[in-house]
């Protein structure tokens, strides 16, 4: 029996729950050489900013056990080029774009949201809140729930009501559930979690930080247990809010893990670097495993780990 793979993120339906994570699929073009973009539930873009941005000095990455540290600094061409070149390309290939936005103030985020709304074709706007807030001594927006809520509110107000707005959270914050609740109160339609975790590696030869910026963001399978726990806690606190889960997804089984914890959709990030056809493989593995279990609708899997033991699932 084949399963109904469709899931809903607020008002939007995706053909299946498996998508790419922001910043881990290039413009879509590069990945399209290995994966059929149209086949994926969605493609999240690199976070788009108002202006072009050169990002951080190199070395920008270091490998760590089952993970990597990165410090890219949101390099990108800016919203003009995105709307002119990248978004139309994605749409022409049948991709479902989840557009991630990044800014330095609520009005910047709002302006990005407005322009994306006008452009048409955007399925979901995802707010990357792990950006330094110049008005808050450069701390990330996620470091202050009130600041995060301000951004979410501004974006929601400037985004067409048909487009769900997801707030993307980092796991290493003072109070994850408090932050998530603040975003939902500010009318986020859903949560994306998790962004990378602050980490550092030191080159044992030079005894200097391995990534130029010193600090990097840890991602990959190493962080999966932390990410799953974050999704689980957010789901427990906010059971009606859809979650895009991510952090170290490598296999179809990992997708099940995130869905059971409470994610409605699941994004593949770092593993795309290791295995450029990972998304297609993971989708195949996921389909086979849900079909094998006799799950009629994969949406039934969402939050399964929260149900009392014995609550049966599928055939």
């Amino acid at each position: 029996m084949s399963s109904d793979l469709r899931i809903r993120l607020g008002r939007v339906e995706l053909g299946n729950p498996i998508m790419t994570a922001a910043g881990c699929a290039g413009t879509g073009r590069e990945l399209a050489r290995f994966v059929d973009i149209a086949q994926m539930g969605a493609i999240a873009t690199k976070s788009v900013m108002l202006e072009p941005r050169a990002g951080r000095p190199s070395p920008r990455m270091a490998e760590t056990p089952s993970g990597m540290l990165s410090s890219i600094g949101l390099q990108g061409p800016g919203i003009d080029v995105f709307l002119e070149r990248d978004l139309p390309w994605l749409l022409s290939r049948g991709g479902t774009p989840v557009v991630s936005i990044a800014g330095g103030s609520a009005p910047e985020y709002a302006e990005l949201a407005r322009r994306l709304s006008e452009a048409g074709g955007v399925a979901v706007v995802e707010i990357n809140l792990s950006c330094p807030n110049p008005a808050d001594q450069g701390r990330d927006f996620t470091d202050d729930p009130a600041e995060a809520a301000r951004v979410v509110h501004a974006v929601r107000s400037h985004t067409h009501s048909d487009i769900p707005v997801f707030a993307k959270l980092a796991p290493d914050v003072a109070d994850l559930v408090g932050l998530a609740s603040a975003c939902v109160e500010a009318r986020a339609d859903g949560l994306s979690m998790v962004n990378t975790i602050r980490g550092m590696a030191i080159d044992p030869a030079t005894l200097r930080p391995a990534v130029a910026g010193g600090l990097g963001g840890l991602s990959g399978p190493a962080i999966r247990p932390i990410a799953v726990n974050c999704v689980y806690r957010a789901r427990a606190a906010l059971p009606d809010v859809p979650i895009i889960g991510m952090g170290g997804v490598r296999t179809g089984a990992d997708v099940l893990e995130f869905m059971a914890a409470g994610a409605t959709a699941v994004a593949v990030g770092t593993v795309n670097f290791a295995d450029p056809s990972a998304c297609a493989r993971i989708l195949r593995e996921f389909e086979e495993s849900v079909a094998g279990r006799g799950v009629a609708r994969v949406s039934e899997l969402v939050g399964a780990a929260h149900r009392p033991t014995g609550a049966s699932l599928g055939g």
């Binding site: 399209a32 290995f34 072009p52 190199s58 490998e63 795309n272 670097f273 295995d275």
Partner: protein
């Protein structure tokens, strides 16, 4: 999915050889062999399926042969855990490889005189380049260097594919003592070179480019930046490159390179974001549209 683009495959290892300080692995990979153009590289998964080493290791393609439908060879020295795992492979093991990746060396339309300069394992991609150039009727001269004699690679093949081959070692244990840029001027003069190709560490590429510049020769350099994906999606491998429009952009070594025109690489600024790079902190869009994004290269 495109026919000329890179492919991912599990390729059986045909042979593993030691060549001085290097290991050479040949894999059966018809789809990669048929797409290959010199200067391109492979990204090889290391450590096996459940490896804690998540990222692929990039290696220049050193040789392509028609046997078994198409084989591809790469040369490497053991630098860390990934390469030491690779060095333990045996024939019939499967390697998960992606390739061919990156922008190849551009070939001249006319049969001109070319000097190819390589440092350490950077010599590897110069051999298929030499052959491609010879097929176009170009004269090829090689300048190959390394720290020590056993790290100069392909010294035997060198004499076969090139008109002349000059060897340079830092310790003088083989050929000229010094750096590859030292004898380069002389070789350029003696062989009346029209163009310089180079591959090796960044300081070497800078010195080679500077020397070629003195003779007003164009250079094509292949850079080595640490790469998380090799496929253009992660933005970890950037170098500051001056575009046709005079604007510096942080270009990806893996898809916009690894081959760049030497004079376009801002060698002094590698590892930094030059203040005037597109989108650098403090950078502002120009009203005349300068700075609108275009692929760098």
């Amino acid at each position: 999915m495109s026919d000329s683009g890179p492919v991912q495959m599990r390729s059986p290892v045909l042979t593993v050889r030691r060549v001085d300080a290097y290991h050479a692995i040949t894999v059966v990979a018809p789809n990669i062999a048929e797409r290959f153009r010199s200067g391109q590289f492979l990204a090889v998964a290391v450590g096996g399926e459940h490896s804690g080493m998540l990222l692929r290791r990039p290696f220049a393609i050193h040789d392509v042969k028609p046997d078994y439908g198409g084989t591809v060879e790469f040369l490497f020295s053991v630098a860390g855990a990934g390469t030491s795992w690779l060095a333990e492979r045996r024939s019939r093991d499967l390697l998960d490889i992606v390739g061919p990746l990156g922008r190849p060396f551009p070939l001249p339309r006319d049969p001109v005189n070319c000097v190819l300069v390589g440092g350490g394992s950077g010599c590897a991609p110069l051999f298929p380049l030499a052959q491609a150039l010879r097929r176009r009727g170009c004269r090829v001269d090689l300048v190959l260097g390394a720290a020590t004699a056993d790290r100069v690679c392909g010294s035997i093949t060198a004499r076969r594919v090139a008109e002349t081959a000059t060897f340079v070692t830092e310790d003088g244990s083989f050929g000229v003592r010094g750096r590859v840029s030292d004898p380069l001027g002389r070789v350029i003069e003696e062989t009346r070179s029209d163009v310089v190709y180079a591959c090796g560490p960044m300081p070497m590429l800078r010195a080679v480019t500077a020397m070629a510049d003195r003779y007003e020769l164009p250079t094509q350099v292949s850079v080595e930046e640490s790469m998380a994906c090799g496929t253009g999606i992660c933005m970890s491998c950037v170098v500051p490159i001056v575009g046709d429009d005079g604007i510096t952009r942080m270009a990806r070594a893996c898809v916009d390179g690894p081959v760049f025109r030497g004079e376009r690489v801002r060698f002094d600024d590698v590892g930094t974001i030059p203040f005037d790079a597109l989108g650098a902190p403090g950078w502002k869009a120009q009203p005349d549209g300068r700075g609108a994004d275009r692929e760098a290269g």
